[in-house]
Symmetry: C2
Subunit: 438 residues, 2 copies
């Protein structure tokens, strides 16, 4: 991956596009933990979808608030290529089961998504309901049912309001537009409080291509082999195998490294669709495959960090980087810190309570005492080989109160490294989730 | 174990003792999840320790509040027997390492405990500090250093104030009393807000014996193979092997089934000491061993439930019982629900949000979809074979708002069963742990 230096700051070898009128108030690829490649340019939120895509989002009455709750995304290409990733939960939602069992996931042509109802723990009726809406969406967009992916989010255990959904599908079909991505995103949001979408342009050797994504997620976030809802579109021409390869790698480096509350969802879904409408191919093992992969990587990492930053009640986020000689230990240690309610409360309070970091690592690695653990907070070493190190307390306190805090763990050995992004645990998380009704 | 019917309610075959003056306002063995054996009688909080024990608790200035922070417990018997359990953390505190490496754990004569400083992540100096206080306590009580167990609780990463401790040891020695158990308990409490001690009398075939315990724990509670600080005394004569056997079994059924925040501590310690001063032996494989074990079981289960009920910020507690055919799955499912911040927030709100229970189980058992999961809340079946079941919503809501809520999970198969006690996640937990300073 390229250094943090981005096209925004330094220009690039390729000519930047004209920014959209009234462009974004701040760049999309803005986290210090995301490398913004020099060949990637940000278009504004009004730039619309890549060539070959249309989308819409409408309200059909599932959300009591009356906000948009049904989204439709269509690829008009003759032979789109696609790839998908789903949650590994043992209690998979009906839309995930339908996608996995009935869809041609490498040749998807449309996505029907809804918020306000997860259609999970709904048994055979849930599968029937999902299939009905899949069939209706297929007719509405002129596709085969197996080409229409489903994605749902909202309360678990409620049945899908199929009649409302059917009306929503018809309404959405009438509003499909090349710049419907904002409406589509709103239709998949639940407790989200921030925009999570991007419209990028990439300079490849064969010409310019577009890459867009719309994403949701704020609670029940701890994706494994998949993530929350995220839909990615490109007009570059990718073979299905290339889409599969790049999506797999980039999801592992982004959504799978994020946690809000350590809670794997029943409905996580990520779908990438390539229309090929730009007439620019991305061939396997080419320089352009690398470039496209870098852009997709930056896009998904930024979205993953935005998920965490918009975690329910989140006020401060952190990245924990764990290094050592044993892959499972490094993973366990980083996850343990990221999901520790004590560490998350300390992050909330801006308290550099590193003893709790040591405790969380020790709890995750039973039987290893005495553990030669190193800990640094924002580069300030506080613990070496398991023992407190003298440090500047004022500097440490100031570091712990930044909006983004970096924690480094050192375990014995070398060669393994991982990272996890996480949010704090706040009063607001408790309020949201104590008052949330099934 | 005997039925819930207790000596308090029904009398017993043996004559009950005279209650202590101004006895406890409510019985100690009061949870519906604890079987109170008919041969166990509760004495009041002023009844003092079993014969052969003295204790004290004093303030030596470790706690900024000026409350008691050094406790000393002594067994005056010629040849006491004992057993101990400790945390399995990879970041063991110095007092735990000293106990494990330098103590004769089957023949302990004294315990030196302190609050306000965990002496964890303190390296070689922490071990030296612990050894110094161990040596001082040994001289103070006339024992060998290897007969003095250490236990600490409080902030991790701070060094033990050895000089203050030495003064505290001298002061405590001067105050050792047979009824010093209340002071001793206060000296080990930190964020605890309730009493967690008991003085019981047991009718054995050879005569009456006493059983007492003092316990602390409110946060960083998820014991594994051990628990928080708990000290148990009896004047029955147990061989060390019997103490070891009974303590091991009873800790597994009590503290190891409790969680407040899923956070294994660096300092968990449970110690049982038998003085034998009652002149009543508890022989291996005897009826009395069973009776003593039942009493110890009830005692530790009630204490474990009290730990959870006094969990930081806790307002409501629950027991999750998981049944199925596969031991690891049953354990994972119960733990996942008990440690899910979403489920804990729902418990806090009295919200019967069982979709989140299904989600937590699914997250703990990846790759098992579709999972034939059954869920009942206070006996009301809400989910059968993974699908919602019609039920009385009003009754369910009322059930979810009780002080103690029972959740039952059914997984495929039969033969395995476990339980976990847990507390809710409240604003108060966040306040305590966001404001708590290292």
């Amino acid at each position: 991956m390229s250094a943090r230096a981005s096209a925004r700051e330094q220009g690039g070898s390729a000519q930047p596009p004209t920014p959209a009128a009234g462009g974004p108030p701040q760049p999309f690829l803005r986290s210090r933990w995301v490398a913004a490649p020099a060949h990637v340019y940000e278009l504004g939120p009004a730039a619309g979808l890549p060539a070959g895509f249309r989308a819409a989002g409408v309200a059909c009455g599932i959300k009591p608030s009356g906000r948009e709750d049904v989204g439709l995304l269509v690829c008009d290409a003759r032979a789109p290529a696609s790839a998908a990733r789903f949650t590994a939960s043992g209690t998979l939602a009906a839309p995930v089961l339908v996608c996995q069992e009935r869809c041609r996931l490498h040749a998807l042509r449309a996505v029907l998504a809804n918020s306000g109802c997860a259609n999970a723990a709904t048994g055979a009726r849930g599968l029937d309901d999902a299939a009905k809406t899949q069939g209706a969406a297929a007719i509405a967009v002129g596709a085969d049912a197996a080409e229409v992916a489903l994605a749902s989010t909202g309360a678990i255990s409620h049945h899908l309001p199929v009649q409302a959904m059917l009306q929503g599908i018809l309404a959405a079909r009438a509003q499909l537009r090349a710049d419907g991505d904002g409406d589509f995103q709103r239709a998949i949001h639940t407790t989200d409080s921030s925009e999570k979408r991007a419209n990028l342009e990439l300079a490849l050797s064969g010409g310019r291509v577009r890459l867009s994504a719309q994403c949701k997620g704020a609670g029940m976030i701890s994706p494994r082999f998949a993530t929350m809802l995220c839909f990615i579109e490109t007009d570059a021409a990718l073979a299905a195998e290339t889409a599969e390869l790049l999506l797999g790698v980039c999801v592992q480096r982004s959504f799978e490294r994020a946690t809000v509350d350590g809670q794997l969802s029943t409905n996580d879904t990520v779908i990438l669709i390539s229309s090929g409408a730009a007439g620019v191919g991305v061939e396997p093992h080419s320089e352009d495959e690398l470039r496209f992969g870098e852009a997709l990587d930056a896009l998904l990492r930024q979205l993953a960090i935005m998920l965490v930053a918009d975690g329910e009640g989140a006020g401060r986020i952190a990245r924990v980087v764990a290094r050592g000689g044993h892959e499972p230990s490094v993973e366990s240690a980083a996850r343990a810190v990221a999901n520790s309610p004590l560490d998350k409360c300390a992050l909330h309070g801006g308290d550099p309570n590193w003893g709790r970091i040591a405790q969380a690592v020790g709890g995750a690695l039973p039987g290893t005492a005495p553990l030669a653990l190193d800990i640094a907070i924002e580069g300030i070493r506080v613990c070496g080989a398991g023992t407190a190190i003298d440090h500047d307390e004022d500097a440490l306190r100031a570091a712990a109160q930044r909006d983004e805090v970096e924690l480094e763990l050192g375990l014995p050995g070398e060669g393994a490294e991982t990272e996890v992004f996480f949010s704090d645990l706040s009063h607001e998380y408790v309020r949201i989730n104590a008052e949330y009704t099934t």
